[in-house]
């Protein structure tokens, strides 16, 4: 994977902020060089010669120098304040209250709930439910301004994908928003940037930016209910899932499982990773996660169950084929 830095902006918002950052860095570098130069010059030129115990020149001040010290930074700061306002209004224009968000992100300890309200404007509204809900892997279309709504289910979290621009807190009790206009398809990574508890480190973000047609296909396929289990082992897994409290916290659309405390698992097999990027999605990882969650992601809300090895294998097999 290549370097995903703020210096490689991939959205309209990130480009604007990066331009401002670079302009400021040039000014800051000049000021720093001036200070370094002055310090080196003064300390070299006015260093005490050996044996010289005399006093320095009795200079107590100079009004012109002081005016320069105040005036020059004031002008520079005024200009940068103007640039700040310009960039701010470009990046975060006000939201028309009737505009429905394209995506709603809800922060949980320690994962992201991602939902897409589908209204009359989206393709095939007739055969889709109102919302597509998924977790952690955030699919977004490129090339058009998206309005993101940010909420929190518990503590304060923060959405930040460096290449896509500005971060924004997810504050319980508030609804925040972000504008996002992604330039190119690709995988962008980010992370929760407000300390949110024991597993703050593993609350990472994976954005999959897609061409609008690809995104529409993805959205449609994710609007479907879960695949019914294909083999006997998966059927056993489904039964265990529904009867052994898993369903109390997780939703699998098309089955009675409709818990909302944990991530939606309807198409968990399609997501490249589980636990916000900690493990890649496969049967083996799912099994060890169900077996000893508190060793893999300490402090997460997934309880340690006492399943037999066979039951774990069945549940993991069932979940893995939910594509």
């Amino acid at each position: 994977m290549f370097l995903q830095a703020v210096e490689d902006p991939q959205s309209f918002q990130a480009e604007h902020i990066n331009r401002l950052f670079n302009q400021f860095n040039i000014a800051a570098a000049c000021i720093l060089l001036l200070v370094v130069f002055l310090v080196i010059y003064v300390t070299t030129k006015y260093r005490r010669r050996h044996g010289d115990d005399s006093e320095g020149a009795p200079i107590e001040g100079n009004r012109r120098v002081e005016i320069l010290m105040i005036g020059f930074p004031t002008v520079l700061l005024a200009w940068f304040f103007y640039k700040t306002l310009a960039v701010s209004s470009a990046v975060m224009p006000p939201v028309n209250p009737t505009r429905q968000p394209d995506i709603i992100i809800t922060g949980h300890q320690f994962w992201w709930e991602v939902s897409y309200p589908r209204n009359a404007g989206t393709p095939n509204p007739a055969n889709s439910p109102n919302y597509v809900i998924t977790a952690n892997e955030v699919h977004l279309p490129v090339g058009r301004p998206l309005l993101m709504e940010l909420r929190s289910a518990d503590v304060i979290h923060d959405w930040w994908v460096p290449q896509l621009g500005n971060k924004m807190d997810l504050v319980p009790g508030n609804k925040n928003y972000l504008w996002l206009n992604i330039r190119r398809p690709g995988d962008y990574i980010g992370a929760c940037s407000e300390f949110c508890g024991q597993q703050h480190a593993w609350m990472r973000i994976h954005v999959v930016a897609q061409e609008p047609a690809d995104f529409a296909r993805w959205l449609d396929s994710n609007a479907r209910n879960a695949n019914p289990p294909a083999d006997a082992l998966a059927r056993a897994g489904e039964t265990l899932f529904q009867t052994r409290t898993c369903a109390g916290c997780h939703r699998i659309r098309g089955t009675p499982a409709d818990g909302a405390a944990g991530p939606d698992l309807t198409h968990v097999g399609n997501r490249s990773t589980i636990l916000t990027g900690l493990l890649s999605t496969n049967e083996e990882n799912l099994a060890s996660w169900i077996d000893h969650p508190q060793e893999i992601k300490q402090g997460s809300y997934m309880p340690s169950f006492m399943f037999s090895k066979d039951s774990i294998k069945a549940i993991a097999h069932y979940l893995e084929q939910l594509k």
């Binding site: 320095g56 460096p162 480190a201």
Partner: protein, 560 residues
Amino acid sequence: MGTTIKIPEPSAPFPGLGVENAQGLLQWISAVDHKIIGVMYLLTSVVFLVLGGVLALLMRVQLAIPMNHFLHPEVFNQFFTMHGTTMIFFVAMPAIFGFAVYFIPLMIGANEMAFPRLNAFGFWLTFFGGLLLYFSFVAGGAPDAGWFNYAPLNERNYSYNHGIDYFAIGLLVSGIGSVATSINIIVTVLHYRVPGMALNKLPLFVWMIFVNSFLLLAAFPALNAALAELLLDRELNAHFFNTAGGGSALLWQHLFWIFGHPEVYIVILPAFAIYSEVFQVFSRKPIFGYAFVAASSVAIALLSFGVWAHHMFAVGLGDTVNSFFGASSMLIAIPTGVKIFNWIATMWGGKIHFSVAMLFAISFLIEFTIGGLTGVAFAMFPIDWQLTDTYYVVAHMHYVFIGGVISGMLAGLFYWFPKITGKYLDEKAGKWFFWLFVIGFNGTFLIQHVLGMIGMPRRVYTYPNLPWYGVLNFTSTFFAFVMGFSILLLVFIMRRAMRHGTPAGPDPWNAYTLEWATRTSPPPLKNFEDLPAVTSRRAWWDMKQQAVNPHPQTKNDDPI
């Protein structure tokens, strides 16, 4: 029954630590002398510096390689919380008060603080506040929600051990001590100056600590209110900050930062105060632009109450609020820049002595400029939206706190150690310490700017193996140990100086201000017998020029 121990009057300005005959240790505990209390503040600061530093090194070990399992995540979170809290409240604050209560009476020609018992009370509250905070480690777990302890993560339902209760009570206790000492400093400066020392002739050190004390008086009530509310929430199920019960998570942030941002200036202004003395003495010149340096401190103090929400640019306060706090935060760069350039101008035309104190002051000019410039970047709030809560901000604040505050305290230590103990800190070993410290510090934190720019958030106990993350973090850890080693060296240098240091005499730097006018180093229990009226900002220098030294220095007056 039992024997009664007579509480001893202090018999020496620097009592020993023996317990026989109830002398020594008891003299320290019962002391109300401002010098003994000052030394106890400074020792407290050193002890907590070592504790906070060890926590930092343990965190750096955990972060040295990707996906490390050296520390449990909960332990890591407790460590960074304790590291920040310790460094701000129990390293920076005691160091500031130590220098302030030791030197303010001396610099204004007074024999004591205005309220000596209040002074002792303030120290012991700070000391026991720190002990209460650390007691949490054995009482079920340390606080784990970060030093600014955001709601609702600080509530019982998200942090169920008692760490945060100890955090709240420890900071309340030490906060009351800080307020008491500030009042004491203000009254002392207003009331106990030697005749002739008008406010425009105050040494700049005293000026800035004086301004700082008002800042502290106005800032701490907000913290105390927030802590009281938090305790009500946690212990009595109130819901000031609990959104589920109708409280507000952002209320905590407002209250904390109304205290917290002035607090940043509360710890930096005293460092500025020390630099202002060090630059003069070791450039052999009076300060350039006295009025501007003093007035810029007042400007910083006033502005600091109007900038708190720049910590909250990413919480969604809206354009109007962001613009106001962006502008006010940018404004604060102006008085700070004025200071930097005035200090450079103070060296201009001087005869610069490269003592260790002066080296720290010079390195500060560059390091603090870096921290200041990245600070202006954060005032430009779209940039803040990218870089806040990343390692860029970790780098920024350590450039301000270590490059600014800690360097200032170290400059003060090397400058005043001969007065406090009567012995020089070895200058040659001190220069080794200086270079190790500066290299260790810059090596640790300069590259953290890059880590922030490539997406590493702060306060993560580990990170995936992304390009450059491993090597940059490992480098940072390596240099953190260089810095840690330099602090060990400093403790060794101090210990050796106390035992076999070169006697310094009463005025080793041929200095300008009245603390060097005492007959001996350390100063006698009664600082001054008699002082002539002051006529300029460099009172002691004038006395030496006019040979009216009230306490002639004779060869017999060897330091203790």
